[in-house]
Symmetry: C2
Subunit: 379 residues, 2 copies
């Protein structure tokens, strides 16, 4: 009797609904909150998001068509690709093995994902494009790491070159003894040593490039982290000089990678300089405010880019601040009582350190923004 | 292998996600575009919309959990009610038979639906609340109808008291011979005869009342119809006197009906007066612009009201215009190239006279709004 968004093998019907554009089924590897919000942005455009997931109890469960499967199983990947028109991603750590010889278009290109999977390639990409970044050395064991620290000078941050996210796989080293006590996590891994930048603030830029090469940038976002996880983003961060600089750097990377889709770059602000910290070849947590804070969210523009549509406006509508709810959900009734606060639940079970939801405050002035944000943070 | 938004009989999990509020499953009778947009508004709030539909190929198919069933079958209705926390509607013509003795809360109240199902009760409700409306007479056959026309004076509009929508079940009578030629449609039906109002324009107000009795109003919307179907809505229609008047009238009706949810009232504007034409006890096509044109859409506020949450802001963000696409879909690529135009497809097969999609233009000024609207209407 129950029928949940029936899967139909006959796509002609769908195609005919989207005149002037024949991409209607976008596949995403993963079913987390980014896939969820991509699917929510795609729905009104008559574009369907299919998510390849290993567990149906995932954030995208209500918004995407789920395909249960394993990205490490060639049969599952082949089946998934046969159902979609174009493939995209919601996380970097994608297994490329079964994707390299497919006819299915993949955006952003796998080459960009490979770079983002590896901090050594990522830093090299920044350097090759003359984007200022932290001083760094790649090391392969504790002795090399110690030598690199001596060369760069304390304090430093050391990070595994692969598989790090949300502050995981990294440590700040302030003394020689720090390295000894913290080394066990890094044993046997390729490790990047970077000087610890004394920055004024952290900002990010969300950029997007279409299949036709059109490029758009969102206003800079100022980010506050807590325990390595993004806690608050405020936008627009209004500094025309830094905005221009960030757009200049992002454009170079987008063009050099023949990129299609949304790319996020995080920068340290040091005086009037931007120092690139890292990039993400996907929609990004620091861009969630764009859902209500602009006319075309990062999710919609990623969908547009991947589907071959023109990009939409990225200008800010007033002032926005996004708060992540980590480990514990707020009271929805209390949130609903705040002025112009938009709640987004990810349908996850609470667990310490887990991003469960976010809320975006929209306001006409910075003062109003901070007033409502204060109330929200007290919930 | 394919698994589409699995139905789980264990709701404890869901309930625990929505602290401070235990409504998580809202049932809607119907699966059209209004149910679709209600489900889209509910998803980020961790509220699920279940739709009772007779055909799974419906606009809500991707956004709501579908239950295939017939509202005229007591078994189907009972099963549906057992799966939901609260019931609401997307159209007026609901069969009450199996709903009157349920413990499931129903919002808006059935009494409001009964009134909206019948033009005689609707007019009486306007009169009882001292809301100005057209002069009218209820008639039961052609002779009575002719007598009523003589009393009111030509021209008049005659309408079946039940089952009319989008201009169906009504006719304009300008001469005695008109009545003869057009009567066949009305034979055997209760017919309301109304004077044909010479109006300056048509406007509507979308109002919403929460379970706690909080009331909010959206700005007046100006509506243009074509062949009896809404074609364009523009908002806000800025006239403080008429806004106050409309809010005054809507508040009286909401309170008298102990209403919960969104109520739409259409008015004719005649000079500085408002003449109520009809009302709809649901989200309304003339409120679709609120998705991007306000911070809390009519869909979200209906969900909030029905779920027992506080209401959100109804203030306009800039200027908006909504265009319905009737019978034929526009080119999505061309729409995407227009500035700040938001497309909403209903996943329907094209058919003459059918509402297939809408698009909302947002702009900072009325001039910009009209410029983009012109381009949109030329697609």
């Amino acid at each position: 009797m129950y029928n949940k968004s029936i899967f139909s093998p006959n796509h002609n019907n769908l195609d005919s609904r989207l005149r002037g554009n024949d991409v209607t089924r976008i596949g995403v590897i993963g079913g987390g909150q980014l896939a969820q919000m991509l699917a929510q942005a795609a729905a009104p455009l008559s574009i369907e998001v299919y998510a390849l997931v290993d567990n149906p109890d995932c954030p995208a469960q209500h918004d995407a068509k789920l395909m249960i499967g394993d990205q490490n199983n060639p049969h599952d990947v082949k089946n998934f690709l046969s159902e979609i028109d174009v493939l995209t991603f919601e996380f970097e750590n994608v297994n490329f093995t079964y994707l390299e010889n497919t006819y299915t278009p993949i955006y952003p290109p796998l080459s960009a994902l490979k770079i983002a999977q590896d901090r050594e390639l990522e830093k090299t990409c920044f350097v090759d494009n003359a984007v200022p970044t932290t001083q760094f050395k790649i090391t392969h064991n504790q002795a090399e790491c110690r030598a690199a620290i001596n060369e760069i000078g304390l304090p430093v941050v050391i990070k595994t070159c692969r598989d790090g996210y949300d502050g995981k796989g990294q440590a700040v080293i302030r003394s020689t003894s720090d390295l000894e006590t913290k080394w066990s996590l890094f044993e046997g891994k390729r490790v990047i040593v970077e000087n610890l930048v004394k920055f004024d603030r952290e900002v990010s830029i969300i950029a997007v490039r279409s299949q036709k090469g059109e490029i758009a940038f969102y206003p800079l976002t100022e980010n506050q982290h807590r325990d390595g996880i993004l806690r608050i983003s405020r936008a627009p961060y209004q500094n025309p000089h830094l905005q221009n600089l960030a757009e200049h750097y992002a454009a170079k990377i987008l063009k050099s990678l023949k990129y299609v889709g949304v790319l996020a770059i995080e920068f340290f602000v040091v005086g009037e300089q931007l120092i690139a910290n890292e990039m993400a070849p996907r929609v990004h947590n620091s861009g969630h405010w764009t859902i209500e804070g602009t006319h075309t969210s990062q999710f919609e523009n990623h969908i547009r880019a991947v589907a071959g549509l023109p990009l939409g406006s990225t200008a800010a509508r007033g002032y926005s601040a996004m708060v992540n709810f980590i480990g514990e959900l707020p009271d929805v009734e209390a949130i609903s009582a705040l002025k112009n606060v938009h709640f987004h639940s990810y349908h996850k079970t609470a667990r310490p350190g887990r991003k469960l939801a976010h809320a975006t405050v929209c306001a006409e002035s910075k003062k109003e923004l901070e007033n409502v944000l204060d109330l929200l943070l007290k919930l």
